[in-house]
Amino acid sequence: MRRLVSDTLIIAERNVIRLPRAPELLIGFTVQPIMFVLLFRYVLGGAIRTPGYSYVDFLLPGIIVQNTAFGGFATALGLNEDMRKGLIDRFRSLPMSRAAVLAGRTLSDVVTNALSLTILLITGVIIGFTFHTSFAHAVEGIGLLLLFGYAFSWVLAFVGLIVSSPETVNSVGFIVVFPLTFISSAFVPVASMPAGLRQFAEVNPFTVVVDAMRHLWLGAPAHNSVWGAVAWSLAIVAVFAPLAVMRYRRAAGG
């Protein structure tokens, strides 16, 4: 167990050191979300009705949750690259914890997520977002985001280990993450969706997390969604962490 913790920290440190040296990834975590916020706020925002809130207040928690899900791509792409370049082989030949490479990878996503979260919040405030709740609730919201982002990184860790190329990581990621995040309460009120889609959106974990964020930041009715979001996060880790570690143990082993 001590080995797991220390090895995890070593791997996480490695991933953080690399960040500023691979600027293309960093741009993905900074410039891209800003662009999304501006596009939604100014291009689509005018046409979307969000009773009770201005669209920028409604949008920001949603888009930040979506962005947090994309944060896991650093894990998927990073693991995929490590596998192709033989680094995973090296790690697997070392007397280190079998879970540390993945745990370190997902842990370093918390750092990148915190970074892009900060950038998005600043952008949001500049274009008119305001917190409607107490400071403590706002901080709880940030904590919840980082927890959910961490959990979702385990999903993408699994994806990164089972597909063969970074291109596939991207397409699998987009095919899964885009519909999941769009068919949710992130960008429009769920009530505006047609039947079928609406039922899906209502049970979608992204809706649960976005609703929890709106409760913590805007004071919207919670309906247990905060605990629901925590439960979803823990459940995702409980399912995908063992799956990913199992896959890692025989990674590239055919």
Partner: protein, 331 residues
């Protein structure tokens, strides 16, 4: 970390009846191998022969379907965790993080072996010195040349001073100068008592580095022995005679025939024959040829090369096949 001390009296590497299939492809089809401690075992074979698969099983990266393998007396499957403390692996592609510097790479590996940060760093600096990478120590490895990356990869495999080292085609794709310098490093390690299992498609590499050579093809061991033993299997020394402009090859063949159990071959003005005895063969050949009044331009005895051996064993030349076949599955 054991500083190269032996932990068993038995062989360093012992492989019995190892089988591994990927779908329909039999990568290993019942391989038996033994390497003594401090020895260099060269695994020779074309791409796709099963060399990499064998190394991956021995390095605890891959489970075999059947058979068993022990390294330093430890079972590669059941005692994998203990074994990982004792082995180093350097692969076909240099497995270093290209966004970390040389020193950061080695320090990370050292810490993952359980060393603390400062001793891992000190060991990293030692290795960078030894591998002539001190000047590049602070640069991200993506700025390194191919040869520098291979040296760093090998250095990373040596961080914990493992008594057994697996080198999977360590010089494939390197320029001749880098190959020579890597060979010198490997010879240095062997001199210190490290056991090395080396896979290669290059016959000269096996010839120079390996104490014992195992030739594998299609997942099977097809020959094993020292370089000399393998060459002797081809029937000892070959005599090559270049004839004069106006000499008759037929006469030369008849004159030399009594020296061999086989019929000499003649190709334009070059006559080749395997001789029974090395001693006195040149003198006897000159005498027989001059008695037959055959003019000789040049004549030499040469040993069969490993190329001759490989050709005779597999029916194809090693490097020619390596170039035309698809790269070995990295699995």
């Amino acid at each position: 970390m054991t500083d190269g001390l032996a932990i068993t009296d038995g062989p360093a590497i012992e492989v019995r009846g190892l089988m591994k299939s990927f779908g329909d492809v039999r990568a290993l089809d019942g391989v038996d191998l033994t390497a003594g401690q401090g020895q260099v075992l060269g695994l020779l074979g074309p791409n796709g022969a099963g060399k990499t698969t064998l190394v991956r099983v021995l390095a605890t990266l891959l489970r075999a379907d059947a058979g068993n393998a022990r390294v330093l007396g430890l079972d590669v499957q059941r005692e994998a965790a203990a074994l990982r403390e004792l082995i180093g692996l350097a692969g076909q592609y240099a497995a270093v993080d290209e966004n970390l510097t040389g020193l950061e790479n080695l320090t990370m590996v050292g810490r993952l072996y359980g060393a603390n940060r400062s001793s891992a760093k000190a060991r990293g600096l030692d290795l960078l010195e030894r591998f002539d990478l001190v000047e590049a120590a602070g640069r991200p490895t993506k700025t390194y040349s191919g040869g520098m990356r291979r040296r760093l990869d090998l250095a990373a495999a040596l961080v914990a001073k493992p008594p057994v080292l697996f080198l999977d085609e360590p010089t494939t794709g390197l320029d001749p100068r880098s190959r020579l310098s890597l060979w010198a490093v490997i010879e240095g390690l062997v001199a210190e008592g490290t056991t090395v299992l080396l896979t290669t498609q290059y016959l000269d590499e096996a010839d120079r580095l390996a104490d014992t050579i195992a030739v594998i093809d299609h997942g099977r061991l097809i020959a094993e022995g020292t370089s000399d033993q393998l060459k002797d299997r081809l029937g000892g020394e070959r005599l090559e005679v270049s004839l004069d402009q106006d000499a008759d090859p037929e006469v030369a063949v008849r004159a030399l025939a009594p020296m061999s159990d086989e019929l000499p071959t003649a190709e334009v003005r070059l006559v080749r024959v395997g001789v029974r005895e090395r001693d006195g063969a040149i003198v006897e050949a000159v005498r027989r040829l001059s008695e037959a009044d055959v003019g000789v331009d040049d004549l030499a005895l040469r040993r069969p090369t490993l190329d001759d051996v490989f050709l005779a064993l597999t029916g194809h030349a090693a490097e020619e096949v390596a170039e035309t076949q698809a790269p070995e599955q990295s699995a």
